[in-house]
């Protein structure tokens, strides 16, 4: 999964630059969909809600920060290196966007933990 972080990077760009990045990004994504490397991708609304401790609901994430997630791609590739190579093509990189590349886990880490704990208990 490619997670695009940063929602403040396009400030200060001219309409022409924005258009150029927008076109590049579209071509990038379409290409990945066409050759089956991307199986999903979505931008997120800039506003949402956060559910935290004691199930309290608060506003957020706050728009326009370096860490805020703006969207994601779900890739289907053979290796981490291939995912990295694709991420390096992200047209937003020169403007300050950060791409997090995270393998999808075979199983929830929590389940792993239980298995390890069970194994440890046996020995």
């Amino acid at each position: 999964m490619l997670i695009f972080r940063g929602t403040d990077w396009y400030k200060g760009l001219s309409p022409e630059e924005m258009q150029q990045i927008s076109d590049k990004w579209m071509a990038w994504f379409k290409g990945l969909m066409a050759n089956g490397k991307a199986v999903a991708g979505n931008p997120l609304e800039r506003e949402g809600k956060i559910v935290g401790k004691n199930r309290v609901v608060s506003d957020g994430p706050f728009a326009e920060s370096k860490e805020t997630i703006g969207g994601y791609f779900l890739l289907k590739v053979d290796t981490m290196d291939e995912a990295l190579a694709i991420a390096k093509d992200c047209p937003g990189l020169p403007y300050g966007i950060r791409v997090e590349v995270r393998p999808v886990a075979g199983e929830c880490p929590l389940v792993d933990e239980v298995r390890e704990a069970a194994l440890a208990a046996q020995t």
């Binding site: 999964m1 929602t7 396009y10 400030k11 309409p15 924005m18 258009q19 927008s22 076109d23 990004w25 579209m26 994504f29 379409k30 199986v39 999903a40 991708g41 979505n42 931008p43 997120l44 609304e45 506003e47 949402g48 809600k49 956060i50 559910v51 935290g52 401790k53 004691n54 199930r55 609901v57 994430p61 997630i69 969207g71 994601y72 981490m80 990295l84 991420a87 390096k88 992200c90 990189l93 020169p94 300050g96 966007i97 950060r98 791409v99 997090e100 590349v101 995270r102 393998p103 999808v104 886990a105 199983e107 929830c108 880490p109 929590l110 933990e113 239980v114 704990a117 069970a118 208990a121």
Partner: protein, 141 residues
């Protein structure tokens, strides 16, 4: 706020919270989570759901610098997994998120509506360009 196709992305953050729990407590959270998830899936609310591996890479800058030992496992901000939810409204999505069993152990859930267009596109249209990213709508699930 209307989410694209009534879809909301729940992002689970706060990794490694289970290290504080006993084996019994962990088993309990797993059982509760299975029930929570099972009910949502049975009701047709789950579009996709996956856990993310604790390792990964972060890429940034003009030269596409790669940092491979990202602070994923330790960071409170690290995303541990996601659930793509179909819900009638943001309120329903929040209500579902609030039932998540791991909340009482320190998980935080971001509830984010999928967007009709990306922030860049929105800004592009503000500035008067056509903004081609809106085409993503037809290309994505």
């Amino acid at each position: 706020m209307n989410a694209k196709n009534n879809q909301y992305l729940l992002l689970f953050t706060g990794n490694e919270w289970w290290n504080k729990l006993s084996a019994e407590q962990i088993q309990q959270v797993i059982d509760q989570s299975k029930e929570w998830y099972g009910n949502l899936a049975a009701a047709g609310k789950v579009k996709a759901s996956q856990a993310l591996a604790r390792e990964g890479a972060s890429i940034s800058g003009k030269n596409a610098r790669v940092i491979t030992d990202g602070p994923f496992a330790e960071s409170k901000e690290a995303i541990g997994g996601y659930l793509l939810l179909e819900a009638a409204s943001l309120e329903e999505a929040i209500a579902i998120a609030r039932e998540c069993p791991s909340l009482c152990h320190g998980t935080t859930i971001d509830v984010r509506p999928l967007s009709e267009d990306c922030p860049l596109d929105f800004r592009a249209r503000q500035l008067g360009c056509k903004g081609s990213l809106a085409e993503l709508r037809t290309a994505t699930v």
